[in-house]
């Protein structure tokens, strides 16, 4: 007998309590069912809280997770279009690290407070968000983390490179949850050498992690609206993400 499961999600803009109890905008998507469901905090990339990121949030909801993306640029440009907000934040020097972590903690708290929550929450980020996901996994009580081609986690910048962010590998000993890393073999930031350096350090520290490098893919291979999109890598990457979260957020 065929049993039909109610197949629906709700996606909406909500207000959450972020860093220092600030009220900030966030995009929430969740299955319309009692649960229990794991949660996923999605970190938007540097171009902002945009349509492509909201699509990722909805994809997690369709896959059986309550997912939320805090608008990390809300304070700087409330109500602005994502590209204008990103320009404002960039001109101001970026998002302060403590504010980022406070907002991500608030997003995780919001998910754990949902009546459908199972108490487990993961974090995922792409590009600059991949680096931030690693940082969050070191500093906050997440249950699983996915770093999609985050630059400047490992690696020493070449001399003279005007780096405005610091490498995070020195904080790897604080990694508090399993980590999945998805990278392009043709990427230079992070390069396969950077990924190997991070893998060696995580192995030395006895951390739980899985890294996958895709041949023929460079940076941002998940981005369906950009020429960097590589369907083979993205399809396999999504499969690995759902497998990973299925193991650690159930």
């Amino acid at each position: 007998m065929l049993i039909r499961v109610y197949d629906a999600v709700l996606a909406e803009t909500v207000t959450i309590t972020g860093h220092q109890d600030d009220q900030i905008e966030a995009y929430l998507a969740r299955p319309l069912a009692p649960g229990p469901f794991g949660g996923v905090v999605v970190i938007h990339h540097m171009p902002g809280y945009d349509a492509a990121t909201k699509e990722i949030v909805r994809r997690f909801a369709v896959g059986g997770y309550a997912a939320i993306c805090p608008n990390l640029y809300w304070r700087d440009a409330p109500g602005a279009s994502p590209d204008d907000a990103a320009a404002v934040v960039r001109a101001a020097g970026g998002v302060p690290e403590d504010r980022l972590l406070g907002d991500l903690a608030g997003a995780a708290r919001y998910l754990r407070g949902l009546s459908s929550a199972n108490g487990k929450v993961g974090v995922i980020g792409y590009c600059s968000g991949g680096r931030q996901a690693f940082l969050a996994a070191c500093k906050l009580p997440f249950d699983a983390a996915v770093d999609c081609y985050g630059a400047f986690v490992a690696g020493t910048p070449p001399e003279g490179f005007p780096l405005k962010v610091r490498p995070l590998i020195g904080e790897a000993d604080q990694l508090r949850c399993p980590l999945l890393g998805l990278f392009g073999a043709e990427d230079s930031t992070p390069s396969p050498e950077h990924n190997a350096e991070l893998a060696a350090e995580l192995t030395r520290l006895g951390k739980t992690f899985e890294f996958h490098e895709y041949p023929g893919a460079g940076h941002a291979f998940f981005a369906v609206d950009r020429p960097s999109y590589r369907p083979q890598a993205a399809v396999d990457g999504w499969r690995r993400i759902f497998d990973f979260f299925g193991r650690y957020l159930s």
Binding site: D84, A87, V88, S128, P162, S188, R226
Partner: protein, 99 residues
């Protein structure tokens, strides 16, 4: 890659945004992922006036070749005009960005 590097310069002049003309305060120049141009990286320039809100912005995303050609064209146009013709007039506000 995200370069995280931005060159910002004060500018004096006007730009036309979604709500019409406005006075410019600065230009931010950076090489990074574009928002719209169909390339992995571009030279991005935001002409903006933060005092008027985030939407007071004129944005361009150019290939490296286009950006360098634009620089040459600016130099050529200035060289073809009498020296100082487009310079801000002397005075208290001369050469300074206007709100």
């Amino acid at each position: 890659m995200c370069t995280y590097v931005t060159e910002t310069v004060p500018v004096d002049g006007s730009g036309k945004g979604p709500a019409g003309w406005f006075s410019l305060r600065h230009a931010a120049v950076y090489v990074d992922h574009p928002y719209h141009a169909p390339y992995g990286h571009t030279v991005n320039i935001d002409f903006a006036n933060p005092d008027l809100g985030p939407a007071a912005r004129v944005a361009v995303e150019l290939t490296e070749q286009s950006a360098l050609a634009l620089v040459d064209a600016i130099h050529a146009a200035l060289a073809a005009a009498p020296p100082g013709l487009a310079a801000a007039p002397p005075g208290p506000a001369g050469g300074q960005p206007q709100a």
